[in-house]
């Protein structure tokens, strides 16, 4: 008799537990979906608006689908839209950004790797102080260097040019890349280096034969981090690049604010997509590493 009652009570509890579990699950999934909608909507709006015509934009709403895949706005944004005074679209500025990003990334990643190597495997007195000073360099508000940097670039004769911006991004990128490589190389056993030294391997041989082959995960992290930061930069671009040497972010801002004629929201959105595509592509292809990079930049371990 007792056993029967117990069984009934247990079945009841189980049923109650299950129901509260189900309610919990519904709550969790609807929360996740609402959040997903919040984060994805601006991208969808940007994409859909870029394929609409202006009459469609005026009669429809943000989430109404474009009636056809009209690429006029993309063509205008790429090669005809007016930015400040010239009407040649974003394409020149897009390539400017590439010309800035590629050397800046290569240089800052190469030096970051070497710095990380020296700071962990060739410890010298004061190495930790140097590292601390570099670390703070990652976080300074760049407003503090704008005035002297403008003077210095002028003094070097590269004010307003692409090489000038490469130099700027190199200087303020190495702190971060050094941080990445240093935190990575710290975990490579020192014994490995010691035995190589006993075998007569020198500075470069140890780096190229032992550390570099291990480094590709962190190299990817550093490249993605630097690519995204340099591509997305606006403050340095707007301060130190002039006219047709400006990067895409500055050009996009000018495109949106150029007030000749009717405001073409579809062209603005196509322009924003063009500026966003390279980093979105990098993120889609190598998102896992992107995340890892963010994490190792901010929290260790």
């Amino acid at each position: 008799m007792n056993a029967v009652i117990d069984a009934g009570a247990i079945a009841d509890t189980v049923r109650r537990r299950r129901r509260s579990h189900l309610i919990g699950r519904i709550f969790i999934y609807s929360g996740l979906l609402l959040l997903a909608a919040f984060f994805i909507t601006p991208l969808l709006v940007m994409l859909m608006t870029s394929f609409k015509t202006m009459p469609e934009i005026r009669s429809g709403n943000l989430l109404s689908l474009p009636t056809s895949l009209n690429t006029d706005a993309w063509r205008l944004a790429w090669s005809e839209a007016c930015i400040s005074v010239s009407c040649e679209g974003l394409n020149g500025y897009f390539w400017n950004s590439m010309k800035i990003v590629i050397p800046a990334v290569v240089l800052s990643v190469a030096f970051g790797a070497l710095n990380g190597y020296v700071l962990t495997k060739w410890q010298f007195p004061g190495a930790n102080l140097v590292f601390g000073l570099m670390l703070f360099g990652c976080f300074i508000p760049f407003q503090i260097v704008l005035i002297p940097m403008a003077k210095t670039l002028g003094f070097l004769g590269i004010a307003g040019t692409t090489p000038g911006l490469v130099l700027v991004h190199f200087i303020y990128g190495i702190s971060f890349t050094t941080l990445f490589f240093r935190n990575f190389y710290v975990s490579v056993p020192d014994d490995l280096i010691k035995s190589a030294r006993i075998d007569g391997a020198g500075f470069w041989r140890i780096f190229t034969r032992i550390l570099l082959p291990l480094s590709w995960p962190i190299v990817i992290v550093a490249i993605i981090w630097q690519f995204t930061n340099v591509w997305n930069d606006f403050l340095f671009g707007v301060s130190f690049a002039a006219g047709t040497d400006q990067p895409i972010t500055v050009a996009l801002n000018n495109l949106v604010n150029t007030s000749t004629g009717v405001k073409a929201y579809n062209v603005d959105m196509a322009g924003a997509m063009i500026a966003a595509l390279p980093t979105i592509l990098v993120y889609v292809v190598a998102g896992r590493y992107f995340l890892r990079g963010l994490m190792s930049g901010a929290v260790k371990g």
Binding site: F39, I144, D268
Partner: protein, 293 residues
Amino acid sequence: MTFKQRLQATMPLAVLSPSLLALTIGVYGFILFTVVISFTRSKMFPTWDWVGLRQYPRLFANSRWETSVDNFLVFGSLYIGGAMILGLFMAILLDQKIRFEGVLRTIYLYPLALSFIVTGVVWQWMLNPGLGIERLMRQWGFESFEFRWITDPDMAIYCLVIAGVWQVAGFTMAMFLAGLRGINEEILKAAQIDGAPGWKIYWRIIIPALRPVFLTAFVVQAHLAIKSYDLVVALTKGGPGLATQLPSTFMYSTTFTRNQMGLGAASAVMMLLAVAAVMVPYLYSELRNERSH
């Protein structure tokens, strides 16, 4: 010592020296330069016309600066708080052994890959008083719906908060998620066996265990908030009026368009001090912990 050995011995420092030079000049030298400029009467160009600390009282008495700082306090606290609370909430939801975690994480995180200029341009369009969210809600049947924050001086600052939190919440989510995954399973199991309800486990055990993550997330978001410039330029241009001016936009316009370089430099120094007040104690304790390990 042979020549080759001597070369070997100097190699590490030789390799480090370009970066040291860049750091010494480009970071610390330039900081010093800006500090010195803030002690001068510089207008359009740097001059060495020494006025001591006089630019600083001028800065604090400047009503545009006062507005910028007030705006920053509103923006900064809501942006940091919003990103942390939303990030934590997202991380907890994602940590419930759910399906499609990878897809959802990707969706939550992609805004981080975008430039603040793109974010500003898109949100400006979504918040457009005539054709944006207002139009959407009206066409969906809420005919008297009004949403014009971006042109309202009292509300425009919240537009910055919305777009800013949208862009960076994924970052704090990722940090909290890593923290959640690092919590000792045994402790959680013990609590579950004791019959503690889910929310209590979170409130009493999990959230306290995440304290270091809260600190890191706060530090990272705080320094991003102080630096915020692009988003303001692209979304509101500091307006309407002065409603969304921040210290960063004050510094730029004062120095480069109003040609009050001494005053602009003083504002940059104040921004640096604000970042340093957050970062230096944090970095110091991090580095010390590392050494004691």
